[in-house]
């Protein structure tokens, strides 16, 4: 394990604008990470960020697991000039639902990603070139093993809570099951014990879009002047629809036209409706920051996730857990509908675990847990849940 170049970010009490990305190198030879597939990888670089101050007892750590295309930059800005703050800035920070005045928050980019942690676009130590399509097959469990490797590296034995939505929620589940001694509470948002067949179907279309892009070159596009951005953008557009809801699209765009009030009656104009323009914009922005091979690796990891398949049943999986659970779903989420959260709850009650569940009303579909307007409702559950767990652990009444 290498030493750290930067120290954890100091207490950002007045403002969370002063945040910095840090790197750790773990699983260096001769201790590579053994993957669920049996393959090995190492060393693994982990990009992570921290917020707040680690308590002397090291009992205030909240680990955030980001979703499919997120990154370690949860909150604040790296510099005042940065256009947008971190992806959960409304939820994480001083005085916010996950209060960095009280908690030491860690978020790391997932294994297989492309935002600083080792992934297909990283250099393979043996070849000196990007892994590309030779990057090993990874699973949610592998991602969680890397999170835990980072904790070892940081000298943190146990976390107060792990929090994640969607693919992040899958990591939280896997962590609670496989590293049960290291976690006090698990917060699972808009997620489930598996990706259902409908979700796999959408992922399949997204991957096909990438594979069929002539610029994909079987994944060896890193040395080309152009990357497979059309395929990746299309994959993003499809996926983005699954993150919204009929209601939210109606609210935000309706049938409004992009330019003027009249149809053009011209098939060559591809962007007539505002929703078209929005999706094109989402696709375009996405390819600026995301790697096509990473998209393939991560959606596959998501497809493979299935607690019942791996442990015999969800109940048997939860029998291994030792933490408290907070499960939250959203009324208009059709990618991970409430029925999926209820499935988790049923198994947790059966396993006699401490579980709290609530379905929140929202028009915003799967993405609701990321939408600023929805955060107060979510915070009113998460904030007392964390505070109470923190208190109960400190008082030994957990």
């Amino acid at each position: 394990m290498s030493t750290e170049t930067a120290q954890p970010d100091g207490s950002a009490t007045s403002s969370s604008s002063n945040v910095a990305r840090q790197f750790a190198t773990i699983f260096s030879p001769p201790h590579p990470l053994v993957l669920e597939s049996g393959d090995q990888i190492g060393p693994v670089t982990v990009a992570y960020q921290t917020y707040g101050t680690l308590s002397p007892e090291k009992d205030n750590v909240v680990y955030i697991c980001h979703a499919l295309t997120g990154d370690a930059h949860v909150a604040g800005r790296h510099s005042p000039e940065e256009r947008k703050p971190g992806w959960w800035d409304g939820f994480v920070g001083p005085g916010k639902a996950i209060d960095t005045d009280r908690y030491f928050v860690i978020c790391s980019n997932i294994l297989g990603g492309c935002q600083g942690t080792t992934g297909p676009s990283s250099e393979c130590p043996e070849t000196g070139k990007p892994y590309g399509p030779d990057f090993p097959f990874i699973t949610i469990r592998d991602m969680v093993n890397v999170h835990n490797g980072l904790l070892d590296h940081l000298g943190i034995e146990k976390v107060l809570a792990i929090v994640g939505g969607s693919l992040g929620g899958m990591q939280v589940l896997e962590w609670a099951i496989n590293h049960a001694d290291r976690v006090g509470a698990a917060v699972i948002l808009a997620s489930g014990a598996k990706l259902n067949a409908q979700g796999i179907a959408f992922n399949a279309v997204g991957r096909r879009a990438i594979y069929s892009d002539p610029l994909f070159h079987d994944g060896w596009y890193y040395e080309q002047s152009e990357k497979p951005r059309f395929g990746l953008a299309l994959a993003r557009m499809i996926a983005h629809i699954t993150y919204l809801s009929e209601q939210s699209i109606e609210l935000k765009f309706g049938r409004r036209l992009q330019d003027g009030d009249e149809f053009r009656f011209d098939l060559r104009s591809e962007t007539e409706f505002q929703i078209e323009s929005y999706l094109h914009y989402q696709g375009k922005r996405f390819v600026e920051r995301f790697d096509a091979n990473s998209y393939l690796v991560l959606t596959r990891a998501m497809d493979y996730f299935d607690l019942a398949e791996k442990y015999g049943s969800i109940y048997q999986a939860f029998e291994k857990t030792k933490c408290r659970f907070l499960v939250v779903s959203y009324t208009t989420d059709w990618l991970f509908p409430t029925s999926q959260s209820k499935e988790l709850v049923r198994a947790l009650v059966q396993a006699r675990r401490h579980v709290t569940f609530r379905e929140l009303e929202s028009p915003y579909g799967h993405d609701a847990f990321l939408i600023d307007r929805e955060l107060p409702k979510l915070g009113s559950l998460v904030s007392p849940f964390l505070a109470r767990t923190h208190q109960d652990i400190a008082e030994g009444t957990f």
Binding site: K342, Q350, T356, R358, R388
Partner: protein, 224 residues
């Protein structure tokens, strides 16, 4: 005017909670359906080492449950309790809620799917003051805890102790215990209970078929 109307006492009063706690075996698995601020299950957990779960729809009360550190579920009891596995509790508490459920018999059946015993507290709308109010003033009953006019009351059914016994018989449930609550006390063998009790606590079990005869007998213990 409303001010002159008769109100039933606070259904979540400490007296009812004490009564319920006495009926629950230490260390049991208990679910409280419509648990309010979770104060009852918190006491069951802390004083009785019970393994508890609260069910509450109201958002504010739900959050107070989280603050007390007890596990909480949101569920619509009119839609069944399908997120709860069969026979996962020793006791289910249903305090002052049954009269607010669309189909009480369905809920009781659902309760016996998930729990072995039920503790049900229901208001007795045959209390003499309510009878007088209807007779002399011609007004519909309301309760003090839910002082709503008839058109906005969550109470969709009005029942008496006699009616509840009939429901138990109909659903083939055995009334293990019937405790009329008069004033702030539970009175075991109260005379004229159906006149004097504002509420009653029932300990219910599912009848095995040969027990149904007994249920009919116990029903005849008290007359209206």
């Amino acid at each position: 005017m409303c001010a002159k109307r008769i109100y039933m006492p606070d259904p979540r009063a400490a007296v009812t909670n004490d009564l319920i706690i006495r009926k629950i075996v230490e260390g049991s698995r208990v679910i409280d359906l419509g648990c309010g601020d979770a104060s009852l299950i918190k006491r069951l957990r802390d004083e009785h080492s019970c393994d508890v779960l609260g069910v509450e729809r109201d958002e504010e009360l739900f959050i107070r449950g989280i603050e007390s550190g007890v596990p909480m579920l949101q569920a619509d009891m009119n839609q069944g309790l399908d997120e709860l596995p069969a026979q996962s509790f020793d006791f289910a508490i249903l305090s002052q809620t049954l009269q607010q459920i669309d189909r009480p018999l369905d809920l009781l059946n659902e309760i016996f799917r998930i729990a072995r015993r039920a503790l049900v507290v229901v208001p007795n709308f045959a209390h003499w003051k309510v009878r007088l109010q209807i007779l002399l003033r011609g007004r519909a009953p309301v309760t003090s805890h839910l002082p709503y006019e008839w058109y906005e009351s969550p109470n969709v059914h009005f029942l008496s102790m006699v009616d509840f016994r009939e429901l138990a018989n109909e659903g083939n449930f055995k009334i293990v215990r019937e405790l009329p609550i008069i004033g702030s006390r539970a009175v075991k063998r109260a005379s004229f209970a159906n006149w004097r009790a504002h509420s009653a606590l029932y300990v219910l079990e599912r009848n095995s078929t040969d027990d149904s005869q007994k249920a009919t007998e116990s029903q005849q213990l008290v007359t209206a």
